[in-house]
């Protein structure tokens, strides 16, 4: 409508799911020949916005214009026909088919009624040549690395429709060499006049490749900026919800009581499978340790490693100076480790069981399947925690799926508290729950630590991290880049570490 080379204009987009407004008056503009980064933390609404654009979800309000014409894609195929293609982090191709076939399936060239395999193979070779990819296209897709698979997915997308390409976290599983290659391709497509919408969590990559940045936070539009004019620190501030200028540089945190603190858990040079590398970490008794960093920086991976979900590749983890077996969660539970995972719905709550049953699950696992907890005991335990954590429910027999998100989170918390752990690890315990309950959970965390429990706390919201944590380690790109304690914990310090600045003395990483 306005300028000539405007490809997509999304205006006042809103979308809500039961109980949550996922998008609230969000706008986005994409020009042709532009690489546009879409940024935001968990729950910011990036994926919902993309789903609206690609027709996976229908928008509740607002308008989408494609080259000035209103569009209303109802399915990914619809969007594809309009010229909007998406390539996801987990490659959506068929691993059992050849590379060539993956590019042409559904639109195979035919000769006398049957598929012309020769042409398919030749055409895909020509196509992949444009991407500087010289591979045997007749081999099965799963013969190749994820990077190649992704390139094939992009080739397919571009070959089908060459207007808008959406790359949803394409670099998460790529090595730096592979990322370079991807960027080359992105620049090439940009030169051909495509508009590319790029979602990532790696800020360096944002600056390496994009022209424009749009930031979302909590389902709201924060702003659109030219990448060259937005310093990294300010960007982090916008993502986390604090203007740099507003930062209070002094923290109200009391200096930790000095002297010898007892070390509960120690990680030495720990490496996970393709996740984190060479992490050294000490957790002291009775502290609330925050693990900070953007999504994908390795914060969840650390706790998953401690809990034995991921397999430790190198290094060692010891609890009370005893080596943790690392063979699945059960040994960890028996050693007194508890973990509330990030994804409440799929990894935490079992919706069809009652609150009582959900609460005693971990305790029962710890005791072993054969020593059943009696009904009376179970009721007593459930009652105790429902009161203690103020879980709002008519009865403990209520099915867990009928509870609100916040109360479900409390049930999971209760489940782990019932095992009487020494170390409680909480990954994003307050995501997607209302402000009141958030505050309650924060209070509970601090209270538990005061009673002597050790807590590891992960959150995307820097505010609550500051409120709860007595010590904090900061991760970037799956490496530990800093450690803050007591008075050092301040938003500016944390953010500069996350952004890769050179503020803190402990920061060993170069930008």
């Amino acid at each position: 409508m306005s300028s000539e080379n405007m490809l997509i204009q999304m205006e006042h987009i809103s979308k809500s799911f039961p109980g949550v407004a996922a998008l609230d008056d969000v706008s986005l503009e994409l020009k042709s020949g532009e690489i546009h980064a879409l940024l935001g933390e968990n729950g910011a609404g990036k994926s919902t916005l993309i789903k609206v654009l690609t027709g996976v979800e229908e928008r509740d309000g607002g308008s989408v214009l494609l080259e000035g014409v209103p569009v209303f894609p109802k399915s990914p195929q619809d969007a594809q026909k309009l010229g909007i293609s998406t390539v996801y982090q987990e490659v959506n191709l068929c691993p059992n088919l050849s590379v060539a076939e993956n590019i042409y399936i559904g639109r195979e060239p035919k000769k006398r009624g049957s598929i012309d395999w020769k042409k398919i193979n030749q055409d895909s070779r020509t196509l992949l040549d444009r991407f500087n990819l010289n591979i045997d296209v007749t081999k099965n897709l799963d013969f190749y690395s994820v990077a190649v698979q992704q390139m094939v997915a992009i080739a397919r997308a571009v070959d089908i429709s060459a207007k808008v390409l959406i790359l949803d976290e394409p670099t998460s599983s790529l090595s730096s060499v592979e990322v370079e290659k991807l960027f080359e391709v992105m620049h090439m497509l940009k030169a051909q006049g495509m508009g590319i919408l790029f979602v990532t969590h790696f800020l360096d990559q944002v600056y390496a490749v994009s022209d424009t940045i749009t930031v979302l936070r909590n389902g709201r539009y924060v702003g659109t900026y030219a990448a060259a004019e937005l310093p990294k620190m300010q960007l982090v501030g916008k993502m986390l919800g604090k203007e740099y200028a507003e930062l209070d540089l002094s923290s109200e945190k009391e200096e930790l009581i000095g002297g010898e603190r007892e070390c509960l858990l120690e990680m030495k040079q720990a490496c996970g499978p393709g996740t984190i590398s060479n992490i050294d970490l000490k957790i002291y008794k009775g502290e609330v340790l925050g693990i900070s960093g953007l999504l994908g920086s390795g914060r969840s991976e650390i706790v998953r490693l401690i809990f034995g979900i991921d397999h430790l590749e190198q290094g060692e983890i010891s609890l009370n100076s005893q080596k943790l077996a690392g063979k699945g969660p059960l040994p960890a539970i028996r050693c007194g480790v508890a973990f509330c995972p990030e994804n409440r719905k799929t990894e935490g709550i079992i919706g069809d069981l009652s609150i009582r049953e959900n609460i005693i699950l971990a305790l029962q696992a710890k005791k072993g399947m054969l020593r059943a907890i009696s009904r009376a005991d179970a009721e007593r335990i459930a009652d105790k925690y429902i009161k203690m954590l103020e879980i709002k429910t008519p009865s403990q027999e209520q099915r867990a799926k009928n509870l609100s998100g916040g109360n479900q989170q409390k049930v999971i918390l209760a489940r782990w508290l019932a095992t009487d752990p020494q170390l409680l690890m909480l990954d994003e315990p307050t995501r997607g729950i209302d402000v009141g309950t958030k505050a309650e959970i924060q209070k509970i965390i601090v209270g538990l630590a005061e009673q002597g429990m050790t807590v590891v706390f992960i959150s995307s919201e820097i505010d609550e991290m500051l409120r709860c944590c007595s010590r904090m380690i900061v991760l970037r790109d799956r490496k530990k880049v800093g450690e803050l304690s007591g008075k050092e914990i301040a938003e500016s310090a944390v953010m500069s570490l996350i952004a890769g600045g050179v503020k803190n003395g402990e920061n060993k990483e170069a930008v």
């Binding site: 990914p76 195929q77 594809q80 490659v91 959506n92 191709l93 068929c94 691993p95 059992n96 088919l97 076939e101 399936i105 559904g106 195979e108 049957s114 598929i115 020769k118 045997d136 007749t138 081999k139 099965n140 799963d142 013969f143 190749y144 690395s145 994820v146 990077a147 397919r156 090595s175 060499v177 592979e178």
Partner: protein, 336 residues
């Protein structure tokens, strides 16, 4: 010409488990020939085809379903129903030219109905086709619990006519199986529908995101399976010249195991109909050897069971190895 070299190379790598299957068949056949007089002959081989043709047809049908990652356990009942219903209609006085198209149509529609239910209501294929199995078996008994002989001239002709080639007999109905095999091979390799079958089995979500007609394809594979089962029933009634309600109980599992021995993965996406055919013939060879050895025929099951276990383990190892190779390659690329 480098083109053809490349394709041949691909053929070798891709069909590793087919190669194993063929070698196994040759191995078993050789072993039988070494152990027994008069085993090694063209006529032994042709008898495998004669006795196995209905099984080949049914197994090819079920291979389509298995390739999409589904399962169809109704086929044995559909075969029995086809035999009983054909025999019943023929006895009532209908002509073969009416009866055969009719039962084929019933098989096709019945498969389509099950496919529709599986797809539209997101039901488990196992349960839906189990219901189909009960239904068809029940209908057989409703028509007649006694064996009904077939005296129709066309059926008799089909049962007895054969060509004799170097002393070996090949019955006409073997050619029906051959046509089905060649047709299925063509469909799976050279039509959009055939490739979609593989894509659905490889990753259903991806297939639908790529804009492929996943739903239509799923309904079609069950229709094909039902049609092939009915056709196998027609061939079986040529072979036995009777319809009996308790025929072929449990035979769907033989069909599934033939497909697996032939290299089909039950998770879908991998397999060939030629492999399935060789799988059927392997089971046939085992049966022949068991007969020669004068053992109880149930030994066939014991050996098939052992083979089946061996095969799934081999497949697992092959799959695991390729994953490892990929892992290592990925790491090398990353360190590069």
């Amino acid at each position: 010409m480098s083109e053809s070299v490349k394709t041949r190379k691909k053929f070798r790598i891709r069909n590793m488990s087919l190669l194993v299957t063929v070698l196994l068949f040759i191995g078993l056949f050789t072993a039988g020939s070494a152990a027994y007089d008069r085993f090694f002959s063209l006529s032994t081989f042709c008898n495998l085809l004669n006795d196995g043709s209905y099984m080949i047809i049914a197994s090819i049908g079920i291979t389509f379903v298995l390739l999409t990652g589904g399962i169809d356990i109704s086929i044995s009942s559909t075969i029995a129903f086809t035999c009983v219903f054909s025999a019943f209609l023929l006895r009532t006085g209908f002509a073969a030219g009416v009866v055969i198209p009719l039962v084929l149509l019933i098989g096709l529609l019945f498969g389509a109905l099950m496919g529709f239910m599986i797809d539209a209501y997101k039901l488990q294929p196992f349960i839906v086709t189990l219901a189909g199995q009960f239904f068809m078996r029940g209908l057989c008994a409703v028509i007649s619990t006694e064996s009904i002989p077939i005296t129709d001239d066309f059926y008799k002709k089909m049962a007895l006519n054969k060509i004799i080639f170097a002393g070996a007999k090949i019955y006409y109905y073997v050619f029906i199986a051959a046509v089905v095999l060649i047709g299925a091979m063509f469909v799976l390799k050279y039509t959009r529908f055939g490739r979609t079958v593989y894509a659905v089995g490889g990753n259903e979500l991806s297939a639908s995101l790529m804009g492929l007609p996943v739903r239509k394809t799923k309904i079609m594979v069950y229709s094909i399976s039902g049609f092939c089962a009915a056709l196998a029933g027609v061939v079986f009634s040529f072979y036995t010249l009777a319809g009996y309600s308790l025929q072929n109980v449990g035979m769907e599992m033989d069909a599934i195991s033939s497909a697996v021995i032939g290299g089909t993965l039950l998770t879908g996406g991998v397999g060939t109909v030629i492999g399935t055919t060789v799988g059927v013939m392997i089971q046939g060879v085992i049966q022949t050897i068991v007969t020669y050895q004068n053992l109880n025929t149930w030994w066939t099951k014991v050996f098939s069971a052992a083979l089946l276990c061996l095969f799934i383990v081999i497949q697992r190892i092959l799959a695991g190895r390729s994953e490892k190779i990929k892992d290592v390659r990925g790491k090398l690329e990353k360190t590069a």
